[in-house]
């Protein structure tokens, strides 16, 4: 289990983040570490850098972590969170340019097969290709 890429889901909505994580777990079981967060620091709609950092650390794997996001602020805050990780972890986290639900399911399925972080990211991002 420690040898698969971890998946983090970051939505403006805690319900969407949790629901997406539920779908991922149903598809790939517990082979892949999945963490999620949603909501601003007050619990309203939005995203929170400290919660994203916690989620990345919770899903941590030596093979790295792929982050799936919904709207702009989730992406900007996720990029900021990556830069605030301890230096050894920063290069092993990628924010994927992919739709959050489909991207998370595809990324986790790919990760479950033991793929590298780059492969997981590529599979998720194929969904955004024209």
């Amino acid at each position: 289990m420690t040898d698969t890429v971890g998946i983090v889901i970051v939505s403006h909505s805690a319900d969407i983040a949790k629901g997406t994580a539920d779908m991922v777990r149903q598809m790939v079981g517990s082979e892949v570490k999945v963490a999620f967060c949603g909501g601003n620091p007050d619990g309203g709609l939005g995203t929170s850098v400290p919660l994203i950092i916690d989620a990345i650390n919770a899903a941590w794997s030596p093979k790295g972590v792929a982050v799936l996001v919904d709207l702009g602020g989730a992406e900007t805050n996720s990029e900021m969170a990556v830069e605030m990780l301890e230096p050894a972890r920063r290069d092993l986290v990628v924010v994927c340019n992919a739709p959050i639900v489909e991207g998370a399911v595809m990324a986790a399925t790919e990760a479950a097969g033991g793929s590298t972080l780059a492969q997981v990211k590529a599979v998720a991002e194929e969904l955004s290709a024209d």
Binding site: N40, P41, D42, G44, L45, G46, T47, S48, V49, P50, L71, G72, G73, T76, N77, E79, M80, M84
Partner: protein
Amino acid sequence: MSVPSETFKSLVKAAAEQVIASAPELTSLDQAIGDGDHGTNMKRGCEAVLGKLDAISAQPLDEAFKMIGKTLVMTVGGASGPLYGSFFLAAGEALSHDKQLPDDLADVFGSAVNAVSARGRSKVGEKTMLDVLVPVLETLKASAGQPDLIARVRSTAAEAVERTAPMQATKGRASFLGARSVGHVDPGARSSCVLVQAVCAGLEARA
């Protein structure tokens, strides 16, 4: 220019309080073309900065700016957190480790503006906070050393924010609206204007 701790503290306090006072206006602008949370997000961040004001103003300027940046990053909750956070973090990087402001303020401000542009992968003309920050930077460069520098910066910011109204957004949530974003002042440009104006007012009161 040496900046005494008390002056720095009062400037940060005035800027944060002014943003908090503007929260309803920022929210209503953001309801028109965004997701309506800019006022509450900025208010939360500025309240967190006020809560740490004593610790922040006890630091050398570079560390003080970095503390402000990190506080905004960790508490604002919207895209404006990393954007304003990056502004202050980069300003901190560009400042020296003492209480001295460099003679060339435009250099520090320029580094901060570049960090916002890089974080948002945005540039001037896209109906964002950069449409206030970049004109302010240009005035800082063009009018450096002039006796009326502060007044010029104030009027630059005030004019620049109004020029965002006819722009069509191509970045951020407002870009989803396409042409419907035209006719509304950008909320991020407004909050940048509020911050710039508050610092200018504080400096004028001191002079």
